[in-house]
């Protein structure tokens, strides 16, 4: 039996150099993603690329405000991602509601529902700022301080309680079955 923990620094280095992003732009910051990924800012230099499948992705970019309807999908997508996984929140909105501080349909404190590792200021953050955030998360991965996914496992009850409070119990099942009667209708 090998003690895999010995190789942890090596793994962390490898994780840092191949961060794949879930291609899920949740808010207005999504418009700065294409310039980042394409030739002008070219994030692929850092071994990052957008990936449609959450099963193969490590990094989740919350690009801007989050509405409850999107948050349901974010939680499902986040849970589909394999460990270790990291979350980076763009701009003011996930932090304190931003300009939507009095809107009934925008989440105010995102860390109540899923764990977040790094926050960037800006509305919306420039690509350079996003790159700075990514650099920060890379440092954190190398030190092993990016532990959002561990927190989610440890405090799952608390997160689940907050989610259920917002959406009501059994929201996953309800969401999966909602459209069946409408599809069956002629």
């Amino acid at each position: 039996m090998v003690d895999w923990r010995l190789f942890e620094p090596l793994f962390n280095y490898a994780r840092k150099k191949s961060l794949w992003i879930v291609a899920f732009c949740t808010g207005c910051g999504g418009i700065e993603m294409p310039p980042l990924m394409t030739s002008r800012y070219d994030l692929e230099r850092f071994g990052m690329m957008p990936n449609p499948a959450p099963r193969m992705a490590d990094l989740f970019l919350i690009t801007g405000y989050v509405t409850p309807k999107t948050l349901k999908r974010i939680i499902i997508t986040y849970e589909l991602q394999p460990d270790p996984k990291y979350v980076l929140a763009h701009g003011s909105c996930p932090l304190n509601g931003g300009i939507y501080w009095d809107s009934y349909n925008a989440i105010k404190h995102l860390d109540r529902y899923i764990p977040v590792d790094v926050a960037i200021a800006g509305c919306m953050p420039r690509p350079e700022a996003v790159m700075d955030g990514i650099k920060k998360i890379m440092e954190m991965i190398e030190n092993g301080t990016a532990d959002g996914w561990k927190r989610y496992k440890e405090n799952y009850e608390w997160y689940k309680k907050n989610q259920d409070e917002l959406f009501g119990e059994g929201w996953r099942e309800k969401e999966a079955r909602r459209w069946i009667p409408w599809l069956k209708k002629k």
Partner: protein, 172 residues
Amino acid sequence: MAKEEVIVQKVLEKAPYAEGKVKRERRIEFKVPADRIREFLMIMKENNFESMMQITVVDWLKDGEFELVYQLWSYTYAVHAFVKTRIPRDLDKARMPTVKDIYPVAETYERDAHDFYGVYFEGNEKMEMPWILDDAEQGLFPHRKDFDWLGYTKRKYKILDRFDEDKDNYVI
């Protein structure tokens, strides 16, 4: 005579129950009783108002009425027409006949009006279908003027507003 006046006259000849006037260049306005709206929109469509742009609901809380503004656009004349009608704003009385058979796109706008204001359009099968709002706000009709917007937000997200003590001093 300007083309707008000609159009207004032409429509009013066929629909004597309506009131019409020219607002400004390329904007005309009609006021129609709520029960004759279908009839009137049919006349409008015959008179080359091909597209419906939107159905706006304005909530006049003081009068206890909803103002429904059917906005039509004519590519032939390049004229924008507001067709206004008033209905009571109580939930059980805010009912309108659907116009989706005249302007098919009205189905979407009617769903929108139902979701945010609670106006029920009879004859539109998609009225109960989930639209923009999530389950939690379903049936609350959050865009009505008497909806406690800030209180609801604070309760839902458990936020405390830092400015409560000085509320009068802030414009917002």
